[in-house]
Subunit: 432 residues, 2 copies
């Protein structure tokens, strides 16, 4: 059953956000703590922090981030609450991202606190032994191998092996035409890690792979539908860097790919899986990491509330609210209701159901009661801009419905420091 | 009134194409000559040759081309019939293209025989004094200035002046963030010459220009619609190079631009003008060049038939048939009926009507009676592939309707040499 989300609680710029309504019991777990007079010293909540637009803009740190993180650690640099960084970025290893964050925030961050958009690919074991084409930037082969893929092939390598395919850039066309084609194994899936460079090259080669059933260089087949599986991480249409308007993200690249495919074939490009916010898989995995931290620190109180702090209505807010709806709808129901149903969308992985089952069983058994969305105004979202409902365009991915209720954040605050203050207040949290 | 085109006459691979039906009088001009017993020595017809897929595949000459052109010139290398090369390419000056063709075909080609997709931009004088953003490859500034533009600015220059805008490629982001913005004049139009390289950069900067009313670097405006004018040359979705399947053309880039614009704004990108085949403007200009050649050679017979030889159903065949329909529909009608009507499509240039009027008046007064499409099988079209009607996808531009009648060529021949033989036979042409 669909339930309307509560209306916007705090307006941007408000010095002190108003309190949430009186607490109510949920799913047999502890009642909400806001409004309680007793102060908590152990956390029963955790933070999911977005990075771009919350902690940094491009490479520039957002000043509120350091202030906020000073409140989240004790003098020894240990976190006082479980914290996971949930980023849709996919262009580096999580160890590298953890190091960047440690430097940026001035507190030590471990790789177990970092979740990249591609992290759930570890579960797609049926592709791990196969030859997969990977698209994106950064150390793609390292990332793919770290996730378990044994035979990844990059766009650049494919381009070298099939030099006639990439014909857009006149200066990069081969000077000598070699008639002998180098042998290549069949490509059995395409993995889109993130936005690549030279989009014309990636778009052309991916289309070639899809229209030849994995044998790029061969003539296009009329009957190549359904195409070989495409798994995509990070659907962000835009993100915020130093420029005054949002910049293209991987979602924009996907718009190109989907529409070229449709123009050429007349058919829809289909995704075997879509990962990264706002997909549910992402939040389940993030919650798993939160719980692992609590366990490691011997915080025995159950984690009943997740606070997802982000700047993007379509990823952070929509995703947190979608997960919140899922938690509420499955609240009190059996495990079966928490498991993915066949055909409920790309993130339900019909072919990987058995693999997913084992993984989700564990998570579902320990699921939180709710996930609250906290929107900051330091990134994509601007309180001066048009309200999402007033906009005519839906910036979410093609395969996610535009549900206006899911675009309404539980809280709006000026920045991440205000988000931490708000949550501590709501939770009556006073760490020693 | 719409008339159905005659059915396919000659099948690919046929050694000797069957004759056309018995001639009939048209518009008071000479009756069709096929079937006549007297041989002509002076041409009353002209050729419009496509280049890619007809004369070359990528950089590789198609053998039939040299043979064909030996039949088209006398021993002194002078053409025996008017010939114009009508290419949708737009990445070089016509002088350079003429030199390439001379070398390729072994006969001297003058620049007056070459029509590029951007040639009609000479008529858009209202933009010539303004600052326009140009996108494409090759000597863009030379091309733009040769066409009359006084203040063209390239994507690369804009990128240098506004270094924060192009954020996709991590390695090309500016190392030092300079706070001072370099002054730039307002950009008043975008001219798309052809497919650029690094599509992400061009797409991002063009979108920025459109969403800021010509002041890229400023925040996006909610009310930036209708956007500043966009003029596009060459709508080819794909073209044929050495690879076994067609490669992306400028039309594919335009698919990306149109769909990103729509995804971000919820509105349609609009073109002030679309040039290149299959637009009518292109064929009118080509006919003008044909007529100029005949005049120069003192061939006094009117040119009543144009034979458009190409490999692409959506550009060469559709365009020739569309022009043929236009010639037939306006046949016997006054000049007014041959002039562009407001609102009949992007190539009718409502704002430039007065300019266009003067230009088209001259052409319309001397228009040919018909334009016959001749499809060759050395390029995009493959007789083994699915018939266009059987395909579910329409490969023409978004703004052109999918009229199956316009996709049926008047003739299909194996290659350009067979095309020349066929036309000589149809016209009973026997040059001395």
């Amino acid at each position: 059953m669909r339930r309307a989300l509560p209306p916007l609680r705090a307006l941007p710029g408000a010095a002190r956000p108003p309190r949430l309504p009186a607490p109510r019991g949920m799913c047999g777990r502890p009642a909400e703590r806001s409004g309680h007079s007793a102060l908590s010293v152990l956390p029963s909540f955790g933070f999911l922090f977005d990075i771009d637009g919350v902690l940094v803009r491009g490479r520039t740190p957002i000043p509120a981030a350091r202030t906020a993180f000073q409140k989240l650690v004790n003098p020894q640099g240990q976190f006082l609450v479980p914290v996971v960084f949930v980023t849709n970025a996919g262009n580096c290893l999580r160890q590298d991202k953890a190091e960047q964050l440690s430097h940026l925030l001035g507190v030590p961050i471990s790789q177990d606190q970092v979740m990249m958009s591609h992290s759930p690919l570890r579960m797609f074991k049926r592709y791990h032994e196969k030859c997969v084409l990977v698209s994106g930037q950064g150390p793609l082969l390292d990332i793919a191998q770290d996730l378990g893929f044994c035979q990844p092939i990059t766009i650049d390598t494919l381009r070298e092996k099939r030099p006639l395919l990439d014909a857009v850039d006149h200066d990069r066309r081969p000077k000598v035409l070699s008639p002998s084609a180098v042998e290549l194994p069949k490509i059995e899936a395409v993995v889109l890690f993130g936005e690549p460079v030279r989009w014309e090259t990636s778009l052309q080669l991916i289309i070639d792979v899809l229209l030849t059933r994995g044998y790029p260089g061969n003539p296009y087949e009329q009957e190549s539908y359904p195409h070989i599986p495409v798994l995509a991480c990070n659907m962000d249409l835009m993100w915020v860097a130093e420029a005054q308007s949002p910049r293209f993200g991987h979602g924009t690249f996907m718009v190109c790919l989907e529409n070229i495919y449709k123009k050429i074939t007349g058919k829809e490009l289909k995704y075997e899986a879509l990962m990264g916010k706002p997909s549910r898989l992402t939040y389940q995995y993030a919650e798993h990491l939160i719980r692992a931290q609590a366990l490691q620190r011997s915080w025995e109180q159950p984690i009943h509330t997740l606070y997802a702090v982000g700047d993007n209505l379509m990823t952070d807010v929509y995703g947190a609210n979608l997960y919140d709806r899922y938690l509420r709808e499955s609240c009190g129901l059996g495990l079966q209701a928490r498991l993915p149903a066949r055909g409920r969308g790309p993130a339900t992985l019909p072919q990987d159901l058995e693999v997913a089952l084992g993984w989700q069983k564990e998570l579902a058994a320990a699921a939180a009661a709710r996930c609250r969305s906290v929107l900051v105004c330091t990134g994509v979202y601007s309180p001066d801009g048009a309200a999402p409902a007033a906009r005519s365009a839906f910036h979410g991915h093609r395969d996610f419905s535009c549900d206006p209720a899911l675009l309404r954040p539980h809280h709006v605050v000026p920045d991440v420091d205000a988000a931490v203050d708000l949550v501590f207040q709501l939770e009556n949290f006073a760490p020693r």
